[in-house]
Amino acid sequence: MRKIFGIFMVLLLFVFTVSLMGSTVRVLIPMDPKTLYPADMSDNPSEEICRHIYDGLVEFDENSNIHPALAKSWELSEDGTVYTFHLVEGVKFHDGTPFNAEAVKVNFDKILAGGLRRSSLFKPIVKEVRVVDEYTVQFVLYEPFGPFLNHLAHGAGLMVSPKVLEEYPKDEVWKHPVGTGPFKFVEWIKGDHIKLVANEDYWKGKPQIDEIVFKIVPEDETRVLMLESGDAEVIERVPPIHVPRLQKSKNVDVIIWPSLTVRFVAMNTTKPPFNDKRVRQAIAYAINKDAICKALFRGYAKPADSVIAPLVNGYYSTGLYPYDPEKAKELLKEAGYPNGFETNLYVAPTYHDVGVAIQGQLKMVGIDAKVVTLEWGTFLDAIYTDPEQAEWQMFIVGWSPSTADADWVVRPLFFSENRVPKGDNHTGYSSPVADELILAQMHETNPEKRKEFLKELQQVLMDDAPWAPIYVQDQLVAKTSKLENVKVLPIGVVIVKYAYFK
């Protein structure tokens, strides 16, 4: 009897200690965030951490659909220029400041004043933010703007405590991350980790885990090893080669979720030979996208058939371009290059492997492309040179619309007025038809009609082929199987705020 009692006491003590230790989720991320001020961030690690500290008026789910968050409902005026949001009542920031219409106005006034990395998402669109009453706020736009809710759901629309915004200059706000979110900021040891602790008074109910530590581990292999040895609960950017092995493990689950990033070959449309549409189409036909997905990404990527990815709002599947080297040779012949030509292919180290694979495939249709590998900084300088002066003829890079909407691809990258160096239109692409459709989709507030414009636009862009889209990579996240409800958003962010241990 005494023995049983003893065992019982030991067990009780064990359970007691375990519950005292609390539950910490360690998430391994590949690099340090740049800031924790939502309106000033443009990198994934920052956005991921901010989405645990702050809430926005609206938010994305894992299919890029938009749901109410701090705004419980909204309506759009007849003329499409005034959005009225009704806010959730009784919410408080971590510092006790109440969340209300005034707080929303303070946040957006800072963004509209300019000088923040994400001012560009709102400044050209929003004329003013009006406080109607304590829990009603209006956004007055210059012109109707189709993807406005997507801009609001973007990380830049996360609400910071107005007290912090008023007390500190904009380049110090990141040191005081105070939001309404499920987790409160504890510490940020640069280059090592960021620690958050559960917000007991969260307006949607207390989170089920007590603590999140985002640990910075740049080496891919090390992240995998740390998960396997139990030194982490969640890891990001698992190298594709490790996925089959991890999937076999009983203690590990792999989450495979599409991203919004289309990787593509851009061609300089302002200079021969790529000023000829047929040559550009030939490149698109000559690339075996399926083989690249299978070999370089072990199948964890899908061939791309549009300039935007399937989970981006407005996507239309054009079915172009199937692998057809014969057709490519024919087009080259028509364009006056029966024996191909010599050209170059600029890549940053990340895309080196893809570059070499494409180099080999272009060789099969007679095109001799020299792969020029440059460090990121030098690479960006090269592609942000006016295309008429630029050295590059082709380059490989990826573009992810962080608003999860097609507008954030087509307008910066293909609108003729946004040509580099003014905007991001690197290829120098200029088409009156495309320009008209870009403006039409931008100002259309009826989602169905807008979809039609975008469909037509994608067909035009794929036919003109300033880009040969190659693939959309899957996001590969692995977690311990004890942890449930880890979500991966297509914008490239892992959400552990709803997670719990089994």
Binding site: D220, P239, I241, H242, K294, A295, L296, V371
Partner: protein, 284 residues
């Protein structure tokens, strides 16, 4: 002028007696033959891709397996020998000729000429080994010609120092005085009388330099600063293999072995030559 020609067979016999040296000589000869015959003995085009068979291990069709792009690794290793040897040989030859000339002049005339030449080389020598090559390639950009240039600059001081030392010890010999008495000019004395007697340490140095050059080429390739893709080069291929080592070890093992065996071969051969050519060890 003492004749050294007849001693070739003497040297050869000494090398054969030394097992390590013989192994080194065999490896060097084999690698050189493979490099020269690459277009004829390589089973596939080293750049022909087959993405669908990516990372497949060794098989009858591909004895060394295939790499990330489905390229035949055996063919790439064979062609890699050609690339590594041709670049290192060119670089060693150029730096040898220049280094010997400068070193000989410095050693023979001494004084201010010696000071200028040797202090300049001391500056080059003050850089840690491979760092100098990295710096040169990083400034000039990657590519075959720049690689040769970097390796040449990298090897120059070594040749100059060795030659200078030998010339200084040779020039006080009686045959030099004799030549001078006959009325030979300085250039003739230096290049026709003294240099031929300094040749053994230089040859040893050249062989050793080949090994270092091959290592530097692969090192730079591994860092992405060497030969640019798709040209088959051992170091570059090895760096691609890094990511896949746990799943496709063959991708790294074979280029790695190629570097190891070649460098080892040149070192053994160089050591053997050193023993065989060193007059002090003659009667061992």
């Amino acid at each position: 002028m003492p004749k050294r020609q007849e001693s070739f067979w003497v040297v050869w016999r000494r090398i054969r007696k030394n097992k390590m040296a013989a192994l080194g000589a065999f490896i060097v000869v084999a690698i050189v033959v493979i490099g020269i015959l690459a277009p004829f003995i390589s089973p596939y085009d080293p750049n022909a891709q087959d993405l669908y068979s990516s990372l497949e291990g060794p098989s009858l069709k591909h004895p060394f397996g295939v790499d990330l792009y489905g390229r035949d690794i055996l063919s790439r290793v064979i062609w890699g020998a050609r690339i590594s040897l041709s670049i290192s040989f060119t670089a060693v030859l150029i730096s040898g000729i220049l280094g010997i000339m400068l070193g000989a002049i410095a050693g023979y005339f001494e004084g201010i000429v010696d000071e200028i030449i040797m202090r300049a080389f001391d500056m080059l020598l003050s850089f840690p080994d491979i760092l100098l090559a990295i710096a040169i390639v990083a400034i000039l950009g990657p590519g075959k010609m720049n690689l040769i240039l970097a390796l040449t600059i990298y090897s120059l001081p070594q040749f100059a120092r060795i030659t200078r030392g030998s010339v200084i010890s040779e020039k006080n010999n009686e045959y030099v005085d004799a030549a001078r008495l006959v009325g030979e000019n300085n250039i003739n004395i230096l290049f026709r009388y003294i240099l031929p007697n300094c040749i053994s340490p230089i040859i040893v140095q050249g062989t050793m330099r080949m090994a270092t050059a091959i290592l530097v080429i692969s090192g730079l390739g591994f860092l992405g600063l060497g030969i640019q893709p798709p040209t088959p080069e051992w170091g570059t291929d090895l760096s691609v293999a890094r990511t896949y080592l746990r799943v496709a070890p063959h991708m790294g093992i074979f280029p790695g072995l190629a570097i190891f065996i070649t460098v080892m071969g040149f070192n053994f051969f160089g050591d053997g030559l050193n023993d065989a050519l060193n007059p002090r060890l003659k009667d061992r």
